[in-house]
Protein backbone atom coordinates (compact mmCIF):
# COMPACT_ATOMS: atom_id res chain seq x y z
CA UNK A 1 0.00 0.00 0.00
CA UNK A 2 2.69 2.44 1.08
CA UNK A 3 4.71 1.53 -1.98
CA UNK A 4 1.79 2.19 -4.29
CA UNK A 5 1.20 5.57 -2.67
CA UNK A 6 4.89 6.39 -3.10
CA UNK A 7 4.67 5.50 -6.76
CA UNK A 8 1.68 7.73 -7.30
CA UNK A 9 3.40 10.64 -5.55
CA UNK A 10 6.57 10.18 -7.58
CA UNK A 11 4.54 10.18 -10.79
CA UNK A 12 2.72 13.36 -9.83
CA UNK A 13 5.97 15.09 -8.93
CA UNK A 14 7.63 14.00 -12.15
CA UNK A 15 4.75 15.11 -14.32
CA UNK A 16 4.65 18.43 -12.44
CA UNK A 17 8.34 19.15 -12.93
CA UNK A 18 8.21 18.05 -16.55
CA UNK A 19 5.25 20.33 -17.26
CA UNK A 20 6.98 23.29 -15.61
CA UNK A 21 10.03 22.62 -17.67
CA UNK A 22 7.95 22.58 -20.82
CA UNK A 23 6.82 26.23 -20.23
CA UNK A 24 8.72 29.02 -21.99
CA UNK A 25 11.40 30.52 -19.70
CA UNK A 26 9.94 33.24 -17.36
CA UNK A 27 10.43 36.81 -18.60
CA UNK A 28 12.73 38.82 -16.41
CA UNK A 29 10.63 41.84 -15.38
CA UNK A 30 12.07 45.26 -16.15
CA UNK A 31 14.04 46.75 -13.26
CA UNK A 32 13.19 50.25 -12.05
CA UNK A 33 16.39 51.52 -13.64
CA UNK A 34 15.13 50.23 -16.99
CA UNK A 35 11.95 52.28 -16.53
CA UNK A 36 13.89 55.35 -15.50
CA UNK A 37 15.83 55.19 -18.70
CA UNK A 38 12.80 56.92 -20.21
CA UNK A 39 10.76 58.14 -17.21
CA UNK A 40 13.80 59.58 -15.42
CA UNK A 41 14.05 62.27 -18.08
CA UNK A 42 12.35 65.36 -16.63
CA UNK A 43 11.25 66.40 -20.11
CA UNK A 44 9.76 63.04 -21.12
CA UNK A 45 6.30 63.53 -22.59
CA UNK A 46 3.57 61.57 -24.26
CA UNK A 47 2.53 62.32 -27.77
CA UNK A 48 -0.20 64.60 -26.42
CA UNK A 49 2.37 66.53 -24.38
CA UNK A 50 1.52 65.18 -20.93
CA UNK A 51 4.56 64.63 -18.76
CA UNK A 52 5.52 61.05 -17.98
CA UNK A 53 8.49 62.02 -15.86
CA UNK A 54 9.04 60.35 -12.47
CA UNK A 55 11.37 62.24 -10.15
CA UNK A 56 13.63 59.53 -8.87
CA UNK A 57 14.60 61.54 -5.78
CA UNK A 58 10.97 62.10 -4.82
CA UNK A 59 10.15 58.44 -5.33
CA UNK A 60 13.20 57.26 -3.38
CA UNK A 61 12.15 59.48 -0.44
CA UNK A 62 8.59 58.18 -0.56
CA UNK A 63 7.12 55.40 1.54
CA UNK A 64 7.34 53.12 -1.52
CA UNK A 65 11.00 53.98 -2.20
CA UNK A 66 12.20 50.41 -1.66
CA UNK A 67 9.69 48.99 -4.16
CA UNK A 68 10.23 48.29 -7.82
CA UNK A 69 8.03 50.01 -10.44
CA UNK A 70 6.48 46.67 -11.41
CA UNK A 71 5.44 45.96 -7.83
CA UNK A 72 2.59 48.43 -8.40
CA UNK A 73 2.48 48.53 -12.24
CA UNK A 74 2.07 44.78 -12.30
CA UNK A 75 1.03 44.51 -15.93
CA UNK A 76 4.49 45.73 -16.95
CA UNK A 77 6.18 42.77 -15.27
CA UNK A 78 5.50 40.60 -18.31
CA UNK A 79 6.11 43.39 -20.83
CA UNK A 80 8.87 42.67 -23.33
CA UNK A 81 8.37 45.36 -25.92
CA UNK A 82 9.40 48.90 -25.00
CA UNK A 83 8.21 51.57 -25.16
CA UNK A 84 5.14 49.93 -23.67
CA UNK A 85 1.59 50.92 -24.68
CA UNK A 86 0.41 54.22 -23.21
CA UNK A 87 -2.63 52.80 -21.44
CA UNK A 88 -1.73 50.59 -18.52
CA UNK A 89 -3.88 48.69 -16.07
CA UNK A 90 -4.94 50.80 -13.06
CA UNK A 91 -2.70 50.33 -10.06
CA UNK A 92 -4.55 48.26 -7.50
CA UNK A 93 -3.41 49.48 -4.07
CA UNK A 94 -5.62 46.87 -2.39
CA UNK A 95 -3.40 44.07 -3.71
CA UNK A 96 -1.17 44.96 -0.74
CA UNK A 97 -3.43 47.23 1.36
CA UNK A 98 -6.42 44.92 1.31
CA UNK A 99 -7.91 46.03 4.63
CA UNK A 100 -7.87 49.70 3.64
CA UNK A 101 -9.19 48.80 0.22
CA UNK A 102 -12.12 46.95 1.70
CA UNK A 103 -12.97 49.87 4.01
CA UNK A 104 -12.68 52.38 1.19
CA UNK A 105 -14.96 50.26 -0.94
CA UNK A 106 -17.79 50.78 1.57
CA UNK A 107 -17.18 54.51 1.93
CA UNK A 108 -19.10 57.42 0.47
CA UNK A 109 -16.07 58.28 -1.68
CA UNK A 110 -16.07 54.87 -3.34
CA UNK A 111 -19.86 55.00 -3.64
CA UNK A 112 -19.63 58.36 -5.38
CA UNK A 113 -16.92 57.17 -7.69
CA UNK A 114 -18.19 53.73 -8.54
CA UNK A 115 -21.98 54.03 -8.24
CA UNK A 116 -23.00 57.67 -8.35
CA UNK A 117 -21.01 58.38 -11.48
CA UNK A 118 -18.63 60.96 -10.04
CA UNK A 119 -15.87 58.92 -11.58
CA UNK A 120 -13.41 61.76 -11.93
CA UNK A 121 -14.54 64.01 -9.07
CA UNK A 122 -14.61 61.50 -6.21
CA UNK A 123 -11.28 60.42 -4.80
CA UNK A 124 -9.58 57.06 -5.04
CA UNK A 125 -6.43 56.18 -3.07
CA UNK A 126 -4.00 58.36 -5.00
CA UNK A 127 -6.12 61.51 -4.71
CA UNK A 128 -5.48 61.63 -0.98
CA UNK A 129 -2.22 59.72 -0.69
CA UNK A 130 -0.41 60.80 -3.87
CA UNK A 131 1.31 58.51 -6.33
CA UNK A 132 5.08 58.39 -6.64
CA UNK A 133 5.36 60.91 -3.79
CA UNK A 134 3.30 58.77 -1.39
CA UNK A 135 4.27 59.30 2.25
CA UNK A 136 3.21 57.83 5.60
CA UNK A 137 1.02 59.43 8.25
CA UNK A 138 4.15 60.00 10.34
CA UNK A 139 5.91 61.93 7.57
CA UNK A 140 5.58 65.69 7.99
CA UNK A 141 5.84 66.21 4.24
CA UNK A 142 3.02 63.73 3.52
CA UNK A 143 -0.52 64.57 2.45
CA UNK A 144 -1.98 62.39 5.16
CA UNK A 145 0.24 63.71 7.92
CA UNK A 146 -2.17 65.01 10.58
CA UNK A 147 -1.38 68.68 10.08
CA UNK A 148 -1.75 68.38 6.30
CA UNK A 149 -5.08 66.55 6.23
CA UNK A 150 -7.26 69.70 6.08
CA UNK A 151 -5.36 70.85 2.99
CA UNK A 152 -5.62 67.39 1.42
CA UNK A 153 -9.40 67.20 1.92
CA UNK A 154 -9.74 70.90 1.11
CA UNK A 155 -8.34 70.27 -2.34
CA UNK A 156 -11.89 69.16 -3.19
CA UNK A 157 -13.89 70.43 -0.20
CA UNK A 158 -12.66 74.01 -0.47
CA UNK A 159 -15.79 75.58 1.02
CA UNK A 160 -15.66 73.29 4.04
CA UNK A 161 -11.98 74.05 4.50
CA UNK A 162 -12.69 77.79 4.59
CA UNK A 163 -15.35 77.31 7.27
CA UNK A 164 -13.12 74.98 9.25
CA UNK A 165 -10.23 77.43 9.20
CA UNK A 166 -12.47 80.23 10.43
CA UNK A 167 -14.01 78.03 13.13
CA UNK A 168 -12.73 77.27 16.61
CA UNK A 169 -11.10 73.96 15.70
CA UNK A 170 -9.19 75.32 12.72
CA UNK A 171 -8.13 78.34 14.78
CA UNK A 172 -6.92 76.08 17.58
CA UNK A 173 -4.80 74.12 15.11
CA UNK A 174 -3.43 77.29 13.62
CA UNK A 175 -2.38 78.41 17.09
CA UNK A 176 -0.45 75.17 17.55
CA UNK A 177 -2.91 72.94 19.39
CA UNK A 178 -2.25 69.55 17.84
CA UNK A 179 -5.14 68.00 19.77
CA UNK A 180 -7.67 70.08 17.84
CA UNK A 181 -9.49 67.87 15.36
CA UNK A 182 -8.71 67.57 11.67
CA UNK A 183 -11.20 66.26 9.11
CA UNK A 184 -10.42 62.58 9.60
CA UNK A 185 -10.95 62.69 13.38
CA UNK A 186 -14.67 63.17 12.91
CA UNK A 187 -15.16 61.77 9.41
CA UNK A 188 -12.59 58.94 9.53
CA UNK A 189 -10.42 58.30 6.50
CA UNK A 190 -11.25 55.14 4.58
CA UNK A 191 -14.66 54.55 6.14
CA UNK A 192 -15.99 58.05 5.52
CA UNK A 193 -19.82 58.11 5.37
CA UNK A 194 -22.66 60.47 4.72
CA UNK A 195 -22.99 62.54 7.87
CA UNK A 196 -26.80 62.41 8.08
CA UNK A 197 -27.02 58.71 8.90
CA UNK A 198 -27.81 57.71 12.50
CA UNK A 199 -24.55 55.85 12.85
CA UNK A 200 -22.44 58.72 11.54
CA UNK A 201 -24.17 61.20 13.86
CA UNK A 202 -23.55 58.94 16.85
CA UNK A 203 -19.93 58.34 15.86
CA UNK A 204 -19.22 62.04 15.43
CA UNK A 205 -20.88 62.86 18.76
CA UNK A 206 -18.75 60.20 20.42
CA UNK A 207 -15.70 61.79 18.78
CA UNK A 208 -16.61 65.20 20.24
CA UNK A 209 -16.77 63.50 23.62
CA UNK A 210 -13.19 62.26 23.43
CA UNK A 211 -12.03 65.83 24.09
CA UNK A 212 -15.18 67.44 25.49
CA UNK A 213 -15.73 64.80 28.16
CA UNK A 214 -17.52 67.14 30.58
CA UNK A 215 -19.91 68.35 27.91
CA UNK A 216 -20.60 64.77 26.95
CA UNK A 217 -21.33 63.87 30.58
CA UNK A 218 -23.81 66.71 31.03
CA UNK A 219 -25.34 66.01 27.59
CA UNK A 220 -25.97 62.41 28.68
CA UNK A 221 -27.92 63.74 31.67
CA UNK A 222 -30.41 65.48 29.40
CA UNK A 223 -33.28 64.06 27.38
CA UNK A 224 -31.32 64.60 24.14
CA UNK A 225 -28.41 62.57 25.49
CA UNK A 226 -30.53 59.89 27.13
CA UNK A 227 -32.51 58.93 24.06
CA UNK A 228 -29.67 59.17 21.55
CA UNK A 229 -27.68 56.78 23.73
CA UNK A 230 -30.46 54.24 23.13
CA UNK A 231 -30.58 54.94 19.42
CA UNK A 232 -33.44 57.44 19.05
CA UNK A 233 -31.88 59.92 16.66
CA UNK A 234 -34.63 62.44 15.94
CA UNK A 235 -33.17 64.66 18.65
CA UNK A 236 -30.09 66.83 18.80
CA UNK A 237 -26.54 65.60 18.98
CA UNK A 238 -23.54 67.95 19.33
CA UNK A 239 -23.38 69.29 15.79
CA UNK A 240 -27.11 69.99 15.57
CA UNK A 241 -26.72 72.84 18.06
CA UNK A 242 -23.03 73.74 17.77
CA UNK A 243 -22.55 73.38 14.05
CA UNK A 244 -19.82 71.32 12.47
CA UNK A 245 -17.05 73.08 10.57
CA UNK A 246 -17.96 76.62 11.56
CA UNK A 247 -18.10 76.24 15.33
CA UNK A 248 -17.32 79.49 17.15
CA UNK A 249 -16.77 80.25 20.82
CA UNK A 250 -20.05 80.98 22.61
CA UNK A 251 -19.09 84.64 23.04
CA UNK A 252 -18.63 85.07 19.27
CA UNK A 253 -21.63 86.70 17.61
CA UNK A 254 -21.45 84.08 14.84
CA UNK A 255 -21.83 81.17 17.29
CA UNK A 256 -25.04 79.12 17.02
CA UNK A 257 -25.12 78.93 20.83
CA UNK A 258 -24.48 82.64 21.37
CA UNK A 259 -27.39 83.97 23.45
CA UNK A 260 -28.46 86.09 20.49
CA UNK A 261 -28.66 83.06 18.17
CA UNK A 262 -29.77 80.36 20.57
CA UNK A 263 -33.48 80.63 19.91
CA UNK A 264 -32.91 80.28 16.16
CA UNK A 265 -30.83 77.18 16.87
CA UNK A 266 -33.56 75.63 19.06
CA UNK A 267 -36.12 76.42 16.36
CA UNK A 268 -34.28 74.23 13.86
CA UNK A 269 -36.13 71.37 15.60
CA UNK A 270 -38.59 73.01 18.02
CA UNK A 271 -40.18 75.25 15.42
CA UNK A 272 -42.57 76.97 17.82
CA UNK A 273 -40.02 77.61 20.59
CA UNK A 274 -39.94 80.99 22.30
CA UNK A 275 -37.40 82.96 24.35
CA UNK A 276 -38.24 81.10 27.58
CA UNK A 277 -37.67 77.81 25.81
CA UNK A 278 -34.20 78.87 24.74
CA UNK A 279 -33.27 79.52 28.38
CA UNK A 280 -33.22 75.77 28.92
CA UNK A 281 -29.68 74.61 29.63
CA UNK A 282 -28.87 71.60 27.43
CA UNK A 283 -25.72 70.96 29.49
CA UNK A 284 -27.05 71.65 32.99
CA UNK A 285 -25.09 69.92 35.73
CA UNK A 286 -26.89 68.98 38.93
CA UNK A 287 -23.56 68.81 40.72
CA UNK A 288 -22.44 72.28 39.66
CA UNK A 289 -23.76 74.95 42.02
CA UNK A 290 -22.28 77.81 40.01
CA UNK A 291 -23.76 76.74 36.69
CA UNK A 292 -27.14 75.34 37.73
CA UNK A 293 -28.03 76.53 41.23
CA UNK A 294 -31.74 75.70 41.07
CA UNK A 295 -30.99 72.25 39.68
CA UNK A 296 -28.28 71.73 42.28
CA UNK A 297 -30.62 72.42 45.20
CA UNK A 298 -33.44 70.39 43.64
CA UNK A 299 -31.02 67.51 43.24
CA UNK A 300 -29.94 67.77 46.87
CA UNK A 301 -33.57 67.86 47.95
CA UNK A 302 -34.40 64.76 45.89
CA UNK A 303 -31.35 62.93 47.26
CA UNK A 304 -32.49 63.81 50.76
CA UNK A 305 -36.05 62.72 50.04
CA UNK A 306 -34.93 59.34 48.71
CA UNK A 307 -32.60 58.87 51.65
CA UNK A 308 -35.24 59.70 54.25
CA UNK A 309 -37.98 57.58 52.65
CA UNK A 310 -35.84 54.51 52.06
CA UNK A 311 -33.98 54.96 55.34
CA UNK A 312 -37.19 55.07 57.35
CA UNK A 313 -39.01 52.32 55.47
CA UNK A 314 -35.87 50.18 55.25
CA UNK A 315 -35.68 50.06 59.04
CA UNK A 316 -39.48 49.84 59.37
CA UNK A 317 -39.59 46.85 57.03
CA UNK A 318 -36.66 45.06 58.65
CA UNK A 319 -38.16 45.41 62.13
CA UNK A 320 -41.61 44.38 60.92
CA UNK A 321 -40.21 41.35 59.15
CA UNK A 322 -38.34 40.13 62.20
CA UNK A 323 -41.35 40.68 64.50
CA UNK A 324 -43.71 39.16 61.98
CA UNK A 325 -41.62 36.00 61.64
CA UNK A 326 -41.49 35.59 65.45
CA UNK A 327 -45.24 36.10 65.62
CA UNK A 328 -45.82 33.54 62.91
CA UNK A 329 -43.62 31.00 64.69
CA UNK A 330 -45.56 31.54 67.92
CA UNK A 331 -48.95 31.13 66.25
CA UNK A 332 -47.80 27.86 64.70
CA UNK A 333 -46.56 26.57 68.08
CA UNK A 334 -49.82 27.61 69.71
CA UNK A 335 -51.65 25.83 66.93
CA UNK A 336 -49.81 22.60 67.71
CA UNK A 337 -50.79 22.88 71.36
Amino acid sequence: MARRLGLVLATVLFVGVATAGAQPPAVKPPASDDCLACHGDADAKRENGASIAVDQKVFAASKHGPLECVDCHKDLAAQQEFPHPETLAKVNCASCHDAEGAKYHDSIHAWAKEKAGLSTAAPACADCHGTHDIRGTDDKAGRVFRANIPATCGACHQGVLDKYKAGVHGAARASGNDKAPVCADCHTAHTIQRIDTDKARLDVAAECGTCHAESMRTYRDTFHGQVTRLGFMRVATCADCHGAHDIYPKADARSTVNPANRLATCRKCHTDANANFAEYDPHADRHDLARSASLYYTGRFMDGLLLVVFGFFGIHTALWLSRGLKERGRTKKDGVK
Partner: protein, 272 residues
Protein backbone atom coordinates in the same frame (compact mmCIF):
# COMPACT_ATOMS: atom_id res chain seq x y z
CA UNK B 1 -67.14 32.65 58.17
CA UNK B 2 -68.50 35.94 56.89
CA UNK B 3 -66.75 38.00 54.22
CA UNK B 4 -66.88 41.78 54.12
CA UNK B 5 -66.54 44.31 51.35
CA UNK B 6 -63.41 46.52 51.60
CA UNK B 7 -63.01 47.98 48.09
CA UNK B 8 -65.83 48.56 45.62
CA UNK B 9 -65.56 47.54 41.99
CA UNK B 10 -64.67 51.05 40.78
CA UNK B 11 -61.74 51.31 43.18
CA UNK B 12 -60.50 47.86 42.22
CA UNK B 13 -60.73 48.77 38.55
CA UNK B 14 -58.91 52.05 39.18
CA UNK B 15 -56.19 50.22 41.10
CA UNK B 16 -55.91 47.72 38.26
CA UNK B 17 -55.45 50.45 35.69
CA UNK B 18 -53.06 52.27 37.99
CA UNK B 19 -51.02 49.08 38.26
CA UNK B 20 -51.06 48.52 34.51
CA UNK B 21 -50.03 52.07 33.64
CA UNK B 22 -47.42 52.14 36.40
CA UNK B 23 -45.80 48.97 35.02
CA UNK B 24 -45.95 50.40 31.51
CA UNK B 25 -44.39 53.68 32.60
CA UNK B 26 -41.67 51.90 34.55
CA UNK B 27 -40.73 49.54 31.74
CA UNK B 28 -40.61 52.31 29.15
CA UNK B 29 -39.04 54.98 31.34
CA UNK B 30 -36.32 53.13 33.23
CA UNK B 31 -34.23 52.44 30.11
CA UNK B 32 -33.65 56.19 29.78
CA UNK B 33 -32.64 56.58 33.39
CA UNK B 34 -30.21 53.66 33.23
CA UNK B 35 -29.14 54.01 29.61
CA UNK B 36 -25.55 52.99 30.25
CA UNK B 37 -26.51 49.49 31.36
CA UNK B 38 -26.92 46.56 29.08
CA UNK B 39 -30.35 45.68 30.48
CA UNK B 40 -31.69 49.10 29.60
CA UNK B 41 -30.80 48.61 25.95
CA UNK B 42 -32.24 45.07 25.98
CA UNK B 43 -35.46 46.24 27.62
CA UNK B 44 -35.81 49.12 25.15
CA UNK B 45 -35.34 46.80 22.18
CA UNK B 46 -37.78 44.23 23.63
CA UNK B 47 -40.35 47.01 23.73
CA UNK B 48 -39.75 47.68 20.04
CA UNK B 49 -37.00 50.25 20.29
CA UNK B 50 -36.76 53.45 22.24
CA UNK B 51 -39.08 55.34 19.90
CA UNK B 52 -41.90 52.85 20.42
CA UNK B 53 -41.08 52.78 24.14
CA UNK B 54 -41.51 56.54 24.16
CA UNK B 55 -44.96 56.25 22.61
CA UNK B 56 -46.01 53.52 25.04
CA UNK B 57 -44.75 55.76 27.83
CA UNK B 58 -47.09 58.54 26.72
CA UNK B 59 -50.01 56.13 26.27
CA UNK B 60 -49.49 54.75 29.79
CA UNK B 61 -49.14 58.29 31.11
CA UNK B 62 -52.46 59.25 29.58
CA UNK B 63 -54.12 56.24 31.18
CA UNK B 64 -52.64 57.14 34.55
CA UNK B 65 -53.80 60.74 34.27
CA UNK B 66 -57.30 59.49 33.53
CA UNK B 67 -57.17 57.19 36.57
CA UNK B 68 -56.03 60.13 38.68
CA UNK B 69 -58.82 62.37 37.41
CA UNK B 70 -61.40 59.63 37.90
CA UNK B 71 -60.26 59.19 41.49
CA UNK B 72 -60.42 62.94 42.12
CA UNK B 73 -63.91 63.02 40.64
CA UNK B 74 -65.04 60.21 42.93
CA UNK B 75 -63.64 61.93 46.01
CA UNK B 76 -65.19 65.22 44.96
CA UNK B 77 -68.56 63.58 44.38
CA UNK B 78 -68.44 61.99 47.82
CA UNK B 79 -67.62 65.35 49.32
CA UNK B 80 -69.89 67.70 47.38
CA UNK B 81 -72.85 65.61 46.25
CA UNK B 82 -73.00 63.03 49.03
CA UNK B 83 -71.98 65.67 51.60
CA UNK B 84 -69.76 63.05 53.24
CA UNK B 85 -67.28 65.06 55.33
CA UNK B 86 -65.81 61.78 56.53
CA UNK B 87 -63.57 62.06 53.48
CA UNK B 88 -61.75 64.92 55.16
CA UNK B 89 -61.43 63.67 58.72
CA UNK B 90 -62.24 60.68 60.85
CA UNK B 91 -61.78 56.91 60.64
CA UNK B 92 -62.68 56.59 56.95
CA UNK B 93 -60.55 59.49 55.76
CA UNK B 94 -57.16 59.17 54.02
CA UNK B 95 -56.09 62.43 55.67
CA UNK B 96 -53.25 61.87 58.18
CA UNK B 97 -54.42 62.46 61.71
CA UNK B 98 -52.78 62.53 65.15
CA UNK B 99 -53.76 58.94 65.82
CA UNK B 100 -51.67 57.87 62.78
CA UNK B 101 -48.54 59.28 64.43
CA UNK B 102 -49.46 57.57 67.70
CA UNK B 103 -50.10 54.27 65.90
CA UNK B 104 -46.87 54.53 63.87
CA UNK B 105 -44.88 54.94 67.08
CA UNK B 106 -46.90 52.19 68.73
CA UNK B 107 -46.32 49.85 65.78
CA UNK B 108 -42.58 50.37 65.92
CA UNK B 109 -42.65 49.79 69.70
CA UNK B 110 -44.48 46.54 68.97
CA UNK B 111 -41.82 45.54 66.40
CA UNK B 112 -39.19 45.65 69.13
CA UNK B 113 -41.38 44.16 71.83
CA UNK B 114 -42.04 47.32 73.83
CA UNK B 115 -45.80 47.38 73.61
CA UNK B 116 -49.00 45.83 72.23
CA UNK B 117 -49.90 46.02 68.56
CA UNK B 118 -51.91 49.20 67.86
CA UNK B 119 -55.59 48.75 67.11
CA UNK B 120 -55.67 49.83 63.46
CA UNK B 121 -58.76 51.11 61.70
CA UNK B 122 -59.88 51.21 58.08
CA UNK B 123 -56.70 52.89 56.84
CA UNK B 124 -53.38 52.44 58.61
CA UNK B 125 -50.57 54.99 58.61
CA UNK B 126 -48.51 53.03 56.07
CA UNK B 127 -51.49 52.74 53.76
CA UNK B 128 -52.00 56.50 54.02
CA UNK B 129 -48.31 56.99 53.28
CA UNK B 130 -48.64 54.79 50.17
CA UNK B 131 -51.67 56.79 49.09
CA UNK B 132 -50.10 60.21 49.58
CA UNK B 133 -46.78 59.09 48.14
CA UNK B 134 -48.64 58.15 44.97
CA UNK B 135 -50.63 61.40 45.14
CA UNK B 136 -47.48 63.49 45.49
CA UNK B 137 -45.75 61.36 42.86
CA UNK B 138 -48.62 61.90 40.40
CA UNK B 139 -48.37 65.63 40.91
CA UNK B 140 -44.60 65.82 40.57
CA UNK B 141 -44.04 63.15 37.93
CA UNK B 142 -47.23 63.97 36.06
CA UNK B 143 -46.65 67.69 35.90
CA UNK B 144 -42.93 67.41 35.06
CA UNK B 145 -43.80 64.76 32.48
CA UNK B 146 -46.31 67.04 30.79
CA UNK B 147 -43.70 69.83 30.73
CA UNK B 148 -41.27 67.51 28.99
CA UNK B 149 -43.94 66.22 26.64
CA UNK B 150 -45.09 69.69 25.52
CA UNK B 151 -42.09 71.94 26.16
CA UNK B 152 -42.96 74.62 23.63
CA UNK B 153 -46.50 74.93 25.01
CA UNK B 154 -45.47 75.24 28.65
CA UNK B 155 -42.54 77.53 27.89
CA UNK B 156 -45.06 80.20 26.92
CA UNK B 157 -45.73 80.51 30.63
CA UNK B 158 -42.75 78.97 32.36
CA UNK B 159 -39.03 79.77 32.37
CA UNK B 160 -36.55 77.52 30.56
CA UNK B 161 -34.61 76.43 33.64
CA UNK B 162 -37.77 74.75 34.94
CA UNK B 163 -37.40 72.17 32.18
CA UNK B 164 -33.98 71.19 33.53
CA UNK B 165 -35.61 70.70 36.92
CA UNK B 166 -38.53 68.85 35.34
CA UNK B 167 -36.22 66.21 33.85
CA UNK B 168 -34.34 65.77 37.11
CA UNK B 169 -37.39 65.40 39.34
CA UNK B 170 -39.20 63.27 36.76
CA UNK B 171 -36.38 60.75 36.88
CA UNK B 172 -35.59 60.89 40.60
CA UNK B 173 -39.20 60.83 41.68
CA UNK B 174 -39.84 57.94 39.29
CA UNK B 175 -36.91 56.06 40.76
CA UNK B 176 -38.33 56.70 44.22
CA UNK B 177 -41.78 55.54 43.14
CA UNK B 178 -40.60 52.41 41.36
CA UNK B 179 -38.30 51.22 44.10
CA UNK B 180 -40.81 52.17 46.81
CA UNK B 181 -43.70 50.34 45.17
CA UNK B 182 -41.63 47.29 44.27
CA UNK B 183 -40.14 46.93 47.75
CA UNK B 184 -41.97 48.74 50.57
CA UNK B 185 -45.49 48.58 49.14
CA UNK B 186 -45.05 44.95 48.14
CA UNK B 187 -43.73 44.06 51.57
CA UNK B 188 -46.31 46.03 53.54
CA UNK B 189 -49.24 44.60 51.64
CA UNK B 190 -48.17 41.21 50.30
CA UNK B 191 -44.87 39.90 51.57
CA UNK B 192 -45.16 40.52 55.31
CA UNK B 193 -45.33 37.21 57.17
CA UNK B 194 -49.07 37.25 57.99
CA UNK B 195 -49.94 37.91 54.32
CA UNK B 196 -47.18 36.11 52.45
CA UNK B 197 -47.19 35.43 49.53
CA UNK B 198 -49.99 37.90 48.78
CA UNK B 199 -53.07 39.72 50.01
CA UNK B 200 -55.74 39.38 47.31
CA UNK B 201 -58.02 42.05 48.84
CA UNK B 202 -57.34 44.65 46.12
CA UNK B 203 -58.46 42.12 43.48
CA UNK B 204 -61.35 40.46 45.32
CA UNK B 205 -62.43 43.56 47.20
CA UNK B 206 -63.25 41.40 50.23
CA UNK B 207 -61.67 40.39 53.49
CA UNK B 208 -62.65 37.68 55.89
CA UNK B 209 -64.19 38.31 59.27
CA UNK B 210 -61.03 37.34 61.13
CA UNK B 211 -58.89 39.56 58.90
CA UNK B 212 -61.15 42.48 59.67
CA UNK B 213 -61.28 41.70 63.39
CA UNK B 214 -57.57 40.93 63.88
CA UNK B 215 -55.96 43.47 61.58
CA UNK B 216 -58.44 46.34 61.73
CA UNK B 217 -60.03 45.91 65.17
CA UNK B 218 -60.90 49.59 65.42
CA UNK B 219 -62.90 49.48 62.22
CA UNK B 220 -64.51 46.17 63.20
CA UNK B 221 -65.60 47.52 66.57
CA UNK B 222 -67.06 50.66 65.06
CA UNK B 223 -68.92 48.71 62.38
CA UNK B 224 -70.20 46.29 65.00
CA UNK B 225 -71.29 49.18 67.22
CA UNK B 226 -73.10 51.20 64.55
CA UNK B 227 -74.56 48.17 62.86
CA UNK B 228 -72.68 48.78 59.59
CA UNK B 229 -71.27 45.25 59.41
CA UNK B 230 -74.34 43.66 57.87
CA UNK B 231 -74.41 46.16 55.02
CA UNK B 232 -70.82 45.23 54.11
CA UNK B 233 -71.33 41.50 54.24
CA UNK B 234 -70.84 39.81 50.88
CA UNK B 235 -70.45 36.24 49.81
CA UNK B 236 -67.03 34.73 49.09
CA UNK B 237 -65.47 35.75 45.78
CA UNK B 238 -66.11 33.57 42.70
CA UNK B 239 -63.77 30.58 42.47
CA UNK B 240 -61.70 31.94 39.62
CA UNK B 241 -60.86 35.26 41.26
CA UNK B 242 -58.30 34.17 43.85
CA UNK B 243 -56.21 31.92 41.55
CA UNK B 244 -56.18 34.61 38.84
CA UNK B 245 -55.23 37.24 41.39
CA UNK B 246 -52.41 35.03 42.64
CA UNK B 247 -50.99 34.54 39.13
CA UNK B 248 -51.25 38.25 38.37
CA UNK B 249 -49.74 39.31 41.65
CA UNK B 250 -46.94 36.74 41.38
CA UNK B 251 -46.07 38.02 37.89
CA UNK B 252 -46.12 41.67 38.94
CA UNK B 253 -44.22 41.07 42.16
CA UNK B 254 -41.49 39.03 40.43
CA UNK B 255 -41.14 41.56 37.62
CA UNK B 256 -40.94 44.30 40.23
CA UNK B 257 -38.26 42.54 42.25
CA UNK B 258 -36.25 41.84 39.10
CA UNK B 259 -36.35 45.52 38.23
CA UNK B 260 -35.29 46.49 41.74
CA UNK B 261 -32.40 44.03 41.64
CA UNK B 262 -31.27 45.46 38.27
CA UNK B 263 -31.55 49.02 39.57
CA UNK B 264 -29.61 48.24 42.72
CA UNK B 265 -26.90 46.41 40.78
CA UNK B 266 -26.60 49.34 38.39
CA UNK B 267 -26.44 51.87 41.22
CA UNK B 268 -23.79 49.80 42.99
CA UNK B 269 -21.71 49.62 39.83
CA UNK B 270 -22.06 53.37 39.40
CA UNK B 271 -24.36 55.16 37.01
CA UNK B 272 -22.07 56.38 34.27
Amino acid sequence: MATYRRFDLANRALHGMLMLSFLGLSATGLPLLFGTSRWAAVLASLLGGIEVAGRLHRVSATLLILVFLAHLARVLKQLVIDRDLGVLWGPNSMVPQPRDVVQAIGHIRWFVGLGPRPRFGRFTYWEKFDYWAVFWGMGIIGFSGLLLWFPTVFSRLLPGWLFNIALLVHGEEALLAVVFIFTVHFFNTHMRPEKFPMDPVIFTGRLSEHELRDERPDEYDQLAANGGLAALEVGPPPDWVIPSARVLAAAVVSAGFLVVILIVLTLVQGRG
